[in-house]
């Protein structure tokens, strides 16, 4: 049926592979069966006959299929790409990383004799829970999928965009329907955190019932999950409101829970000449003001090499909280967007984006309730790197390494940019026995597998000047011992290791001890998940973490004076900025390092 984007069922499993929650939508199921029937009728001449699995599995069947798949694919998510242990017909055989998010289950029913494919299942893992969503797609897509793997061609998604084939991805867009809303909850908590300095009366935010918070905590916070049970009532009521018949209508949990908890009173009068948007069930009442926070995360790969350029990239977002009465439009010109090197810009659905030249015109938006992300962007850093310099580590013997840091902090950063703190961490896969050396500034401590150098401790912010920090030292490691867990390795390789024949020769051929060690270490390296950018363990690096407040470093800014509101009203506009470090990596200049070629966008 055209225009259908519904869910047939959803399941939530815990980390013991047991279904803790499930919900089926019989009305959708009825449509599915009708579609299957017409599909089977229409495909009578089809040489390839499949009967799609036309009924839903019970929880126990699903749980069994889930653990089957886990075994088959190696983990809950699976390998995603075809590896040596992939079996034909498994998701990883399809060889598409998306299969880590769209899974196929084989439901084994004795009375039906054969395994039935249940596909596609949007798979979302949050905390200890695994959320599976079975969307309604056209039966022929399921068949196509079956056919695809039969032909061993790795088309998982196929021509997604081509017109009528557009169903599968709809689902995926809904997959965070439960998890995603929780994610955005944490997002908004973050914003509240920023504006905490100035106490905000947040009547709406506080109206979010405790049930929602409970769920949020549940799914996003792993340590707590053990002690708490899944709040099924909250979940049930969320589902009933957000997708009463399996078709999602509104996935904003805060809206839904405010509605559930507060209801409406006859005092809630809708605006006279406007329709109140579905995403804004309540209108704000009270003291009006407008808050903006520019939050930027700085990712950097510092090589200090001639052949590889350092790379710095900023992913930023403007968070907003508009405590404005009625349904006003807010607009402001994005300053700095034209001059700074913004690579991408995207907006909250409430924003009206001018069709031409987003960068020159004012942004108009009609703010929803509460905290929201108004805009996201990727940019290059208009200032230099806040932590600049090099890290060198060289193994002087098999168990001892000499290192040297030479850093400049906040070079070229002027007030009001303030670095609140700055730490540097050197992780080592080997156990550290002892550490020698004194930094020119700050304190050093070491844990079993890492050395931490606190250069600037919080409370002593660095502002208006730049400082130099050096740290020479040596680190001694516990004697090398192969940590390979053979079971793990042999599972992965499927074969026994017969490289041993070559070892002595390799050792002789090694140029130096460094290479020899690298070689040795590599033998123990397990493969990483596809969610990782590379195998961190394979490299020596130091990771900087810091926080800079005072302004954005991309140059994006909002001039509070130029913010205008329609219908016109004068409200105070507050702006704050913070820059935190994401992956800010200083690669060992003397070792191997990963790199990538940057294309001009």
């Amino acid at each position: 049926m055209a225009g259908d984007c519904s869910i047939r069922a959803l399941w939530i499993l815990n980390n013991l592979d047991a279904v803790v929650f499930s919900r089926r939508f019989p009305a959708v199921e009825k449509r599915w069966r009708a579609a299957c029937q017409s599909e089977n009728e229409s495909s009578e001449n089809d040489s390839v006959k499949y009967t799609v699995f036309s009924s839903l599995p019970s929880d126990s069947e699903l749980a069994a299929a889930f653990s089957d798949r886990k075994t088959r694919e190696g983990s809950v998510r699976g390998f995603g790409i075809r590896v040596s242990q992939s079996k034909e017909g498994s998701d990883s055989w399809v060889d598409d990383p998306i299969t880590r998010h769209i899974a196929g289950f084989y439901i084994n029913r004795e009375e039906e004799g054969e395994d039935n494919l249940l596909w596609p299942l949007a798979l979302h893992i949050k905390g200890p829970y695994c959320i599976l969503i079975l969307p309604l797609v056209e039966p022929r897509h399921v068949k196509a999928y079956t056919r695809v793997w039969a032909f061993m061609v790795a088309h998982a998604i196929g021509d997604i965009i081509t017109g009528d084939v557009a169903d599968p991805e709809v689902i995926v867009s809904q997959s965070p329907s439960v998890g995603g809303l929780l994610d955005s909850l944490t997002g908004s908590i973050g914003i509240t955190g920023i504006s905490r300095a100035k106490p905000v009366a947040a009547p709406v935010a506080s109206s979010v019932p405790s049930g929602a918070a409970a769920i949020g905590a549940l799914a996003s916070d792993i340590p707590k999950s053990g002690s708490r049970l899944l709040d099924k009532d909250a979940l049930r009521s969320f589902i009933s409101s957000s997708m009463p018949f399996g078709t999602p209508l509104d996935l904003s949990y805060s809206n839904i829970f405010s509605i559930k908890a507060n209801g409406f009173s006859s005092l809630d009068i809708p605006p006279q000449d406007l329709k109140q948007p579905a995403w804004k069930p309540y209108l704000y009442k009270g003291k009006q003001r407008l808050l903006f926070t520019i939050h930027e995360t700085l990712h950097a790969a510092m090589y200090d090499r001639d052949e590889i350029a350092d790379s710095l990239s900023v992913s930023g977002q403007i968070n907003c909280r508009a405590e404005l009465e009625g349904l006003p439009d807010v607009s402001f010109p994005l300053t700095g967007v034209g001059t700074s090197k913004i690579e991408t810009l995207s907006f909250h659905p409430c924003a009206q984006v001018p069709e031409r030249n987003v960068y020159k015109q004012a942004l108009v938006f009609s703010p929803p309730l509460g905290n929201f992300v108004l805009m996201r962007y990727q940019a290059t850093c208009s200032l230099g790197p806040p932590v600049k310099g090099f890290y060198q580590l060289s193994m002087v013997s098999e168990d001892e390494g000499a290192f040297l840091f030479k850093l400049r902090l906040m070079e070229g950063y002027k007030s009001p940019l303030t670095m609140e703190f700055c730490n540097l961490t050197m992780p080592f896969p080997r156990r550290i026995l002892s550490l020698d050396g004194t930094p020119s500034i700050g304190t050093v401590s070491n844990a079993e597998h890492s050395v931490e150098w606190k250069i600037i401790t919080s409370g002593r912010g660095l502002s208006g000047k730049s400082i130099e920090a050096t740290f020479p030292g040596t680190v001694r490691f516990a004697p090398w011992q192969s940590q390979r867990s053979t079971s793990f390795r042999s599972v992965l390789e499927g074969t026994t290791d017969d490289d041993s024949d070559n070892e002595p020769e390799n050792a002789n051929n090694m140029v130096n001890i460094e290479e020899f060690l690298v070689e040795k270490m590599n033998k123990d390296l397990p493969p990483v998940d596809l969610e990782e950018p590379f195998n961190w363990l394979a490299y020596n690096y130091a990771k900087a973490s810091f926080k800079i407040v005072g302004a954005s470093i991309s140059g994006v800014s909002i001039d509070p004076k130029s913010v205008s509101i329609y219908p016109t009203i004068k409200v105070p506009v507050e702006l704050s900025s913070q820059v935190t470090s994401g992956d800010y990596i200083l690669w060992n200049t003397l070792g191997k390092c990963p790199s990538a070629v940057n294309a001009e966008v």
Binding site: A2, G3, D4, C5, A27, K30, R31, S60, V83, P97, I98, H101, M152, I160, I161, A166, E169, V170, V172, S173, Q174, S175, K232, D233, R236, S237, P244, F245, L249, L251, I259, F264, S265, K275, Q276, A278, W279, T297, Q317, E343, S346, H348, E355, R376, Q378, D501, N502, E505, N522, K523, P527, V528, D529, L530, E531, E532, P533, N535, P594, A599
Partner: protein, 1120 residues
């Protein structure tokens, strides 16, 4: 299963566990089945209870399991009850505790869902549905009303769901809905808008001619429309044609409000609006203006909506392609975005580009595709994103190649960068794969990309011609070079590269590509590989090369031979293990070759390698294996060999059924054997003498039934007296004294004689002669070999062993059954000592006569083996039965066979016995080693004469004991004589003698006879005597005379005597002396006195029992 039904649930806790049981399914659900109708009733009454906290879950439970809880027999009453419950709930005032909006909403939703899923319109009367619709309409008919606004929204959704289930259900009241929609201004307006849109959508799709402005029909009471109930649901009777004007107005109204919709609402809305726009002929550009801005949203659903719009109205959106591509690129870059959407955006982009390549504007293609090259993986992109971005790069480069081919111009992408360069740049992001272990994810991603690149984009169904183009592309040449370099530089990657090739080989479509790569490797690798221990890393590749029939094995064999030489050279105390392991691996590759290639193709190279290994390799096990491979290579024809070496894998071109259980894979020696099949074994397996016996029937059969092995004690009884005497004599050492050295010292039994010089001369000759005869009691005796052939008949073999139908598909030699590892065991009741068993590694069945006459050996793999032998020889295995006779007597050798057939079954049983005739025991006399060769004839003659004399009844040597070789035993001569007259002409006799007895002739006497025999040229190196007196022998000649016969007898005497006494032949021609040694230590002496028409044979022997056999033999020889 519960025998008694579980108690009915009462408390909320009961209901909760029941709900759990239902969800869990299986037996836990099954136990409730007997309660199904009453369960629903119970639940429905519980819902109305005041104090019942489990209401909402219970309602959901009824909804989810309505197909079970509402059985068709009681559905009507249950549904009535349900509607009643709903009405009660909806109409009861909110009390905050027991009746709240949540319950009301859930009741509405679930009731709707239950009615839809139980298909109540058809199963019950429409009244239920009509009642529900009416109830819901009453709820929504209060726009902008305060507290219940969300309930109204939910009621709208319920109505929408009903409208979806029964299209056009609400079309009659569309006018009312529209006005409700216009007036609703709360957040519930989305639901009103969607409801109206759905109603319009079904009107348009069912082509109902109905006025949607008309509000004449009252909203309540609701009349169930006829078009739902009527047999034709396609709007018959309502009119023809849509009311376009009104509908367009409604559309214009609907399009005013997109901003109030949530993203999900927008999705639902757009899915209906797009077909409406098409049906109502709206300008797609209108939609574009209205909605294209959504592409800038970071909400993935909205992006997706735009993409769907594009796919529907791509013409309207041209010039927007770049923007779409750019936007999708941005989504993939946004680090804040969930990974799954970043992945999806690349997926979408690939789909988009693919579509664009097919339908897009030609001019634009290049620039759009070029944008794809902006998708380099970033350093911190997760590997899955890197992987999919690399896919995109590969896809774009393939598109570029295709475009290049179309335009014909040499196209350079980007700023002076070649496609290859661009791709290399892309791969840098996972370049750690070169030094990370081969199981690292980076490696997998890199090789996956190479694979994608080689086979073309995963998203395009590339036609074969495009694939062929790829072969010529710069990419391919770059890639293969890259692979070769990687193999040489990073040996740890070899397993991955092999897996990569395997993946290509495993695919039907790309098999050839894999083969091409292997060929390239074969060509380029061998010259560049350094021969040292590290070569082992390449063995995986070598194995694949060895497997591939398209690659001549010569180069690889050469390399392996060199490596073996290297191993031999480097072998030392430190490298023992290495030599063994590497040598074994090399042999493993050899095995792979043997199993995959035609033997003839390999023969030279591999036999050299194996032979070298057999001879020089330091490790015993490797040598052993090499030897057995070599033997198999030589003995077993190709296909069978491949079958034998096969470790269970499928082989190309080998019928799986015939080799499914190969030698190695079968469970070790199956004890199972089919007695029925083994019983008649001699019907089809034959062991036959190569040289047929002259004596056709053997009376020694009478010796057969006697026990074997303990004959020395069991003589007598059944045996005829002759034989037993013979045996006793032997054992009692009357004629043959065999004593130990001590005994001899104790009992010096040899008497002293007075002898003349002649006698002493004779004795000397005899002593010398006997001293050369080995004493079988103390050392290896003299062995007799009877050459035989083992063969078996394919046809009857297959017949007996039961339909070997799969073989019928094979031709020639391949179709023939074979025996493996055959062991022939022999035993004999005759005193032949122990007979060594015989091993035949492999034997092919003899094809039916008609078959192999034209097939011959044409299809045999190993031509070399059969060169020079007749075609029949191919199906025979030569077997020599070797035994040490204790006594010269004919007998039977029983043959037992134990062999394997192809399916691993053991066949064993008895074959036809082999007859041993007396002639098999004929040997030339043993000569002392110090006799020069030219003196041999004289020596033989001397021995003949001496024995002739000794065997005469009056011999003086009778009491002499002759020490045998080894000095421990001695023999005495106890001679016997006999004569036989052969009534055949001289030339026939000479001919037969030459043919059968030539080696034993020691002299020929008589001019005429000498001429005759010498002329024949067969008999050589004997003593020729032309003297006539040699023919004077006669049967009655005294022993002494006989002894001196050559010297004493005169021609005339003999002539007279012969003429008078024997009255045979007119003219004596001469005499042939024949000396036959019968192992273990006996002799037969024949003197044939030849005359024209008959011959008199004088026979003497020192073993009288053999006379009877000799008699028979002579008859067979000369008279038949």
């Amino acid at each position: 299963m519960a025998e008694k039904p579980p108690p009915k649930p009462v408390s909320p806790r009961d209901w909760e566990s029941l709900t759990e049981d239902f969800r869990h399914g299986g037996a836990r659900r099954e136990k409730w089945s007997c309660l199904y109708p009453s369960l629903a009733e119970l639940a429905l009454s519980s819902i109305l209870k005041k104090e019942f906290p489990f209401k909402i879950p219970l309602v959901i439970f009824l909804d989810e399991f309505s197909h079970l809880l509402f059985p068709s027999n009681s559905i009507s009453s249950l549904l009535d009850r349900l509607i009643e419950d709903l009405r009660t709930t909806v109409q009861s005032p909110i009390d905050g505790a027991h009746v709240n909006y949540a319950l009301k909403e859930q009741m509405m939703v679930s009731t709707t869902s239950i009615l839809i899923s139980t298909n109540s319109v058809e199963t019950v009367e429409v009244r239920c549905t009509a009642a529900l619709v009416e109830l819901l309409l009453a709820v929504i008919n209060r726009p902008n009303h305060g507290p219940d606004r969300h309930a109204r929204a939910i009621a709208c959704e319920c109505l929408r769901e009903l409208e979806k289930a029964y299209p056009c259900l609400l079309s009659g009241i569309a006018g009312h809905l529209w006005s409700l929609c216009q007036s609703e201004r709360t957040h519930a307006s989305q639901s009103y808008i969607l409801l109206l849109t759905t109603v319009i959508y079904s009107i348009v799709s069912r082509k109902l001619s109905i006025s949607i402005l008309n509000a004449a029909v009252p909203l309540i009471p609701f009349n169930f429309p006829q078009w739902i109930l009527g047999p034709e649901k396609e709007g018959s009777g309502i009119g023809i044609g849509l009311n376009y004007k009104e509908l367009r107005r409604a559309m214009a109204f609907l399009l005013e409000w997109p901003r109030v919709l949530t993203p999900c609402g927008m999705m639902v809305f757009m899915r209906m609006i797009m077909p409406l726009a098409v049906a109502l002929d709206l300008q797609p550009s209108m939609l574009k203006v209205q909605f294209f801005g959504m592409i800038n949203s970071f909400h993935p659903v909205l992006c997706h909506v735009v993409l769907i719009m594009y796919s529907q109205f791509s013409e309207a959106f041209n010039e927007k392609e770049k923007e779409i591509v750019r936007r999708l690129l941005f989504v993939s870059l946004e680090m804040q975005q969930y990974l799954v959407f970043r992945l999806l955006s690349v997926h979408w982009l690939m789909g988009f580009l693919n579509r664009f390549m097919e339908h897009g504007v030609e001019m634009e293609k290049k620039s759009i595709i070029k944008m794809g090259f902006m998708f380099y993986p970033h350093l911190f992109d997760p590997l899955s994103l890197k992987a999919i971005k690399l896919d995109l790069l590969a896809f774009c480069s393939i598109c570029m190649d295709a475009l290049k081919a179309q335009s014909g111009s040499d196209m350079i992408v980007g700023e002076g960068k070649s496609v290859v360069k661009l791709f290399q740049d892309g791969l840098i992001s996972v370049s750690a794969f070169k030094w990370l272990p081969h199981w690292s994810t980076e490696t997998t991603v890199a090789f996956r990309t190479l694979h994608k690149l080689l086979i073309g984009s995963p998203h395009s169904e590339a036609d074969p011609s495009a694939t062929n183009k790829l072969m010529e592309s710069a990419f391919y040449s770059h890639l293969k070079g890259m692979l070769i370099d990687m193999i040489l530089e990073f040996q740890r990657l070899v397993p991955v590269i092999v897996a990569f090739v395997d993946r290509l080989l495993g695919c039907q479509k790309h098999h050839w590509l894999g083969e091409r790569l292997l060929q390239t490797m074969d060509e380029n690798l061998h010259p560049r590989v350094v021969i040292d221990y590290r070569i082992v890393s390449y063995f995986l590749i070598f194995d694949r090369i060895a497997e591939n029939q398209t690659i001549p094995p010569r180069k690889l064999l050469g390399l392996l031979t060199k490596f073996m030489a290297f191993l031999v050279e480097k072998h030392g105390p430190d490298t023992c293990g290495k030599s063994w392991s590497h040598g074994t691996k090399v042999l493993g590759i050899c095995r792979t070759m043997l199993t995959h290639h035609q033997s003839s193709r390999l023969f030279l190279g591999i036999s050299r390698l194996l032979a070298f290994t057999c001879l020089y390799f330091p490790d015993l096990e490797v040598r052993d294996h090499a030897r057995s491979y070599l033997r198999m290579l030589i003995c077993v024809p190709g296909l069978k060999l491949r079958g034998m070496l096969n470790l269970g894998e499928q082989l190309l071109g080998v019928s799986p059924s015939s080799h499914s259980e190969s030698f190695f894979s079968m469970q070790s020696p199956q004890q199972y054997q089919d007695p029925k099949k083994s019983r008649n074994i001699s019907l089809y397996i034959h062991l036959e003498r190569m040289i047929p016996l002259l004596v056709k029937q053997s009376w020694s059969l009478s010796l057969l039934p006697l026990g074997i092995g303990n004959k020395s004690k069991s003589f007598g009884g059944i045996r005829d007296s002759e034989a037993s005497i013979d045996e006793r004599e032997l054992d009692a050492s009357i004629p043959l004294r065999i004593t130990s050295g001590d005994e001899r010292v104790d009992k010096p039994w040899v008497p002293l004689y007075v002898m003349d010089s002649k006698v002493s001369e004779i004795l000397e000759v005899l002593r010398r002669h006997f001293s050369c005869i080995p004493d079988f009691r103390h050392m290896a005796g003299i062995r007799i070999k009877i050459p035989c052939n083992l063969r078996f008949d394919s046809e009857s073999f297959n017949h007996v062993r039961g339909g070997e139908s799969p073989k019928s598909r094979l031709h020639g030699v391949e179709a023939l059954p074979a025996l493996y590892a055959t062991v022939l065991k022999f035993s004999s009741p005759a005193p032949y000592g122990s007979i060594q068993s015989c091993h035949i590694p492999f034997l092919l069945g003899q094809p039916p006569m008609s078959d192999y006459i034209h097939d011959e050996t044409a299809s045999l793999d190993i031509d070399a083996t059969y060169v020079g032998s007749g075609e029949e020889e191919a199906y025979k295995a030569p077997v020599a039965i070797e035994f040490e006779p204790r006594e010269p007597t004919p007998g039977l050798v029983d043959v037992f066979i134990e062999t394997y057939v192809e399916d691993g079954q053991i066949i064993c049983g008895k074959l036809q016995s082999i007859k041993v005739g007396i002639e098999d025991l004929f040997l030339k006399a043993i000569t002392p080693p110090d006799i020069p060769e030219d003196a041999l004839p004289d020596y033989y003659l001397d021995v003949f004469n001496a024995l002739w004399d000794a065997c005469s009844s009056t011999s003086n040597t009778g009491r002499e004991a002759f020490i045998l070789k080894g000095g421990k035993g001695a023999a005495a001569i106890n001679g016997t004589r006999s004569v036989k007259l052969l009534d055949i002409p001289a030339d026939a006799l000479v001919h037969a003698t030459e043919h059968y007895l030539a080696p034993f002739i020691v002299s020929v006497t008589g001019e005429h006879l000498v001429d005759m025999v010498k002329y024949g040229g067969i008999v050589r190196d004997i003593v020729w005597k032309e003297e006539a007196f040699g023919l004077l022998l006669d049967a009655n000649t005294s022993a002494s005379e006989l002894n001196r016969m050559p010297l004493q007898l005169t021609f005339t005497e003999n002539e007279d005597e012969r003429g008078s006494e024997l009255a045979i032949g007119k003219r004596s021609m001469g005499c042939i002396d024949i000396l036959i040694f019968l192992p273990p230590m006996f002799h037969i002496l024949l003197q044939m006195q030849v005359s024209d028409v008959s011959t008199l044979v004088q026979i003497r022997t020192d073993h009288w029992p053999c006379l009877a056999y000799i008699d028979e033999y002579l008859e067979a020889l000369f008279l038949t």
